[in-house]
Structures are given as C-alpha cells and as structure tokens.
C-alpha cells in the first residue's frame, strides 16, 4: 500500500518505474508483459493463418498448376474428371462485388453527403441508429432475406430468373456494405475543415456549390478508401452470397443467372464430405489464399489512399 500512496503523491510526469517499491515494479512489468502478449497474439494469429493458407496450398499447386488454376474456366473439383479452374469463381465474386458496389456506392455517398451537409440534428438522430441496426444484422439473416424478399421481386420483374441468382446477392450485399460506406464517407466529409467551407461561402457559393465543388472533392480520397473497403467486404462476404447466389460456377456477366462465388465454393467443399488431403479438399486453401490476396491488395490500397488524405489536412 505504501508504494501506492507514494505514487499518488508524486507529480504525474515521472519516468517509468521511478518511486515504485519492489512489488510495484513487478506489477508494472507484469502488466507490460500481459499487454504485450495481447498485442503479439493478433500478430501470431495473422501470421499463422497466412502460413496455413500457403502451406496447405503448396501440395495443391503441386497437383494443379497455378496457370490452370488462374486461367481455366472450368471449376469441377468434386466430379470426375476434375477441373480446377478458379476463373468462374473469381467471375462470380467479381460480379457480386461490382454489382453491389454499383448499387451501394452512389446511395452510400448520397446518404453520407446528406447526413454530413444537409441533415438536421433531428433527422441525423433517426438515420444514424438505423444504420447501426443495419450493420448489426447477422449475415445469414441477410442471406435468407435475399431468397424470400429480393429474389421473388427480381423473378417478378424478370420472369424466368432462377430462385438463386447473382442479382439478389448483389442487392443484399449492397445493403450489407451500405452502413460502412456511409459511416466512413460521412467521417471524412465531416472532417473537411470548416474553414474550407467558410472560404467557399465567402466567395458567394451556395450550399450545393460548396458541397459538390469543395467538400466532396476535398474528401475524395477518403471516400475512395471507403469504397475500396466496401468492395473488399463484398468480396469476402460469405453467408449471404452462399445462400442467395446459388452453386453454379460459371463464366457470366448476367446477374440473373445462378453463379458461385469463391467464398461459396469454400463453404461447399468445407461442409461437404470430401476426403481430407485430397486435391479437391485442398482447393479451399488455394481459393482462400486467392481471396486473401485480393482483399489484402484492396485494403492496402485503401489504407494508402487514406494516409495520403491525412497528410493533406493534418
């Protein structure tokens, strides 16, 4: 106790362990190591996952050439003869990511601009919690929501569409990424210095001019980063697209067709009864690695863009 009493009596800005008793010092270093372990844990987990992906993929690529994996348009790992062309899966993932992006990005940006520039405190107080609820809905709920709500609408508008189709997956994923696009974009829009708006108003600009010609351009790189993170999230989305998009790996740009995404293919193999250590089983690591590289690349690009914005405005 005496050491505690001593520390409280000291001025706050003392070097690390000065003035502490022996037990105080041990406690300090214990806390230090516990916190350090917490930090290291996340690093180890990341490294471990990446290592597993790589190590498990190596035997797969010994069996199937990387060239075939990346260029063949036939994905049939579980039927004989086997085919391991991941392109249809990449096609499916890209279709869902781009389709949901086309829907979510303009709506998200519009909402963000509204919230940051036009909304009254009252409307903000309603919309913001709604978005948080949207962000908190489990992805499996979104998945069957796509099947029982979006899919029938699409089938009504375009008769002949299958129950499982890329369009309903695009719609539902766009709803899922919307809260992220909005909150990240709104943050950067609100971060545009007030001085910049004032300067524009002082030049005789009206609100629309200030918003479209000053605020949005000033926040552009942050907005782009939020777009990229949303795309990356859409690429990695699993449950909803597995439920909504179907299980038909195919090369198509038609969103009304049934497709299979990379994530859905992993679910299919991992939850099926493929023998472990068979090439078809190892596809989950190869596809997983490909997914990881894609999302990592996009996330790095987003971080890089964000870092550049921060430099510009302190």
């Amino acid at each position: 106790m005496s050491s505690v009493a001593k520390t409280t009596a000291l001025p706050p800005a003392l070097p690390d362990h000065a003035g502490l008793g022996r037990w105080g010092r041990i406690r300090e270093s214990l806390i230090h190591w516990i916190l350090f372990t917490c930090g290291v844990l996340s690093v180890l987990t990341t490294v471990g996952i990446v290592l597993v992906l790589i190590i498990e993929s190596i035997p797969f690529f010994a069996h199937v050439s990387l060239w075939e994996f990346l260029t063949s348009t036939n994905w049939a790992p579980t039927v004989r003869p086997q085919h391991f062309g991941a392109l249809p899966l990449i096609n499916g993932t890209a279709l869902v990511a781009i389709g949901s992006g086309i829907l979510a990005l303009p709506i998200g940006l519009g909402t963000a601009v509204y919230l940051s520039e036009y909304a009254t405190p009252w409307t903000r107080a309603i919309i913001k919690p709604m978005l948080e609820i949207l962000a908190g809905i489990p992805s499996v709920v979104y998945g069957y929501f796509a099947i029982i709500f979006f899919s029938p609408i699409i089938r009504w508008v375009f008769p002949g569409t299958k129950v499982f189709n890329a369009a309903s997956a695009c719609l539902v994923v766009s709803v899922m990424v919307l809260p992220m696009v909005i909150s990240l974009s709104e943050d950067v829009l609100r971060g545009v210095p007030r001085a910049l708006r004032d300067a524009a108003y002082a030049l005789g600009a009206n609100k629309f001019d200030v918003t479209t010609r000053v605020v949005v351009p000033a926040a552009m790189s942050g907005i782009m980063a939020s777009f990229l993170l949303a795309i990356s999230r859409a690429i990695g989305e699993t449950m909803a697209v597995t439920l909504a998009a179907g299980a038909n790996p195919r090369m198509t740009l038609n969103p009304l067709e049934s497709i299979q995404t990379m994530t859905a293919a992993i679910v299919q193999i991992a939850s099926g009864d493929t023998p472990a250590n068979s090439p078809e089983y190892r596809t989950i690591f190869a596809v997983g690695l490909a997914l990881f590289v894609m999302t990592l690349g996009i996330n790095i690009a987003a971080q890089w863009i964000l870092a550049r914005t921060r430099q510009k405005y302190e």
């Binding site: 001085a195 004032d198 300067a199 524009a200 108003y201 002082a202 030049l203 600009a205 000053v214 510009k312």
Partner: protein, 280 residues
Amino acid sequence: MSELEKPMPEISVADAVRDRVHQTANISTSGIKVKATKLSVYYSDKQAVNEVTIDIPERCVTALIGPSGCGKSTFLRCLNRMNDMIDGARIEGEILLDGEDIYSSKTDVVQLRKRVGMVFQKSVPFPKTIFENVVYGPRVAGVRNRNRLMEIAESCLTRAALWDEVHDRLDDSALQLSGGQQQRLCIARALATNPDVLLMDEPASALDPASTARIEDLIFELKERYTIVIVTHNMQQAARVSDKTAFFFQGELIEAGPTTDVFTKPKQKRTEDYITGRFG
C-alpha cells in the same frame, strides 16, 4: 503628474506610425462605404458585440484591434453575413453598404458575399489547382469561357502579387505553395469575384515576417481599388497598414479614429493601455 506620466508607447509602434512610407488616406474626405449602426451580435445568450456604431471609409484600410474575444472578428463577419451560418447567432442593428441595408430581406446573400470578399486567418486553398482556386468564385457564378477565366486569373494573381511566382504552374496543386503564397492565393481568389470591400481576418498571423511584409505591402496596393477592413492582433501591423483604427474591448467599440491619432494620442485610457501593451 510626473510619476503618473504616460508611459511612452512601445517604440516599435511609434516608429511604425512615424515611418509610414505610404501616404495616409485622408479618411475624413473619403466617402463612407460601410456604416454600422448600433450593431449587436448574440451567440445564443452570450452577447459578442454590443451596439457598435462605426463608419468604414471608402478605399481606406480600417484596422480592428483589441484583445482576443473582444468581438472584432465577430463584427467583421457581420459585414458579409458569415455569422448567418452559425447556429444561434442573432444580429440587431443595421449595416449599410453603399446606403443599402445588407440585413434587409431583399438582400441576396450570395451577391453580397461577392461584393464583400473575405480572407481568413488560416490560408485555406481548396484542394484544387492554383488556377481553379482563383476562378472558383467566377465559376460558381456561371462563367465558363476558358479565356475569360484565364484573364480573371491573371489579373487577380497579378493584383495579389503572386502572378510572377506561379504563372508557369497554374495547373499545380495549390497545396504545394508556401504559407505566404497560399495566403496571397486566397487574396487573389477573393479578388476574383470583383468585390468592392475586402475583409481580412488576421491575414498574416500565421505567416513568417517576410511573408507578412509582403501581405502588408499588398494591402497598401489594394486600397487603391478596394475598401479594406482588417482584424489584427499585431499593433505594429495596424499602425503600419491602416488609415483608420477601431479599438474593441469586451464587445464594445471603445474608440475609433485616424490611425495616427489612435496610436499617438488615444482619447480613452483603455485604448492607451492596450496599445502600450499593459494588457491584451
């Protein structure tokens, strides 16, 4: 009276008044550009400006001085209605620009702000090219002709004494300019809407002495064409650049008059205390 003898005003301020190289405009013969009568500003419940009555002479530099929070910036921001955008701000009294009430319901705020330009304390170039910064005002006013915009950019940058430094890189980002250059760019940008009045809110307080000197020289040149109102914390600057000085304290206008008079024979004790550095 000897022990109570007035302390000499700070040497540098006195020097600044004496050494004015440029001719002082005679503010008594100048027309009145802006006339504020019993102007009060409230932020929610707090009164920031209290019944200020002052004439701003045409084509002269009027300096507003006073300690932080004295209401001088708030007063300045009334002149182009920038306080309109602050939630809870309320304005009483009257401001006439060329005899017309700028707070009347008939006033177009957008037009007013084009006539009354403003330069801020922190230089805030838009994240655009130098060229696009200068022509922002004309662009939002609907000028599209590239040649016309180019003429505006050249003449405004020239008046803001920046043309020689940037004429060969108008398409570079404005954020690459130095602090002093950015501030002159902001002045050029304010000039591009072709205002009659230029409001400057501590335009040089974030700049180094050399850049400050350039801005002050520029203010001298600009008053040939424009009516300038400048808020400054820097007494020497007020003494150097202004023709008329107004001293604000706790939201009230304590004293206003020709700069030479205010600095050499202030009528009010508080003015004297402030300019001699006893407080503030």
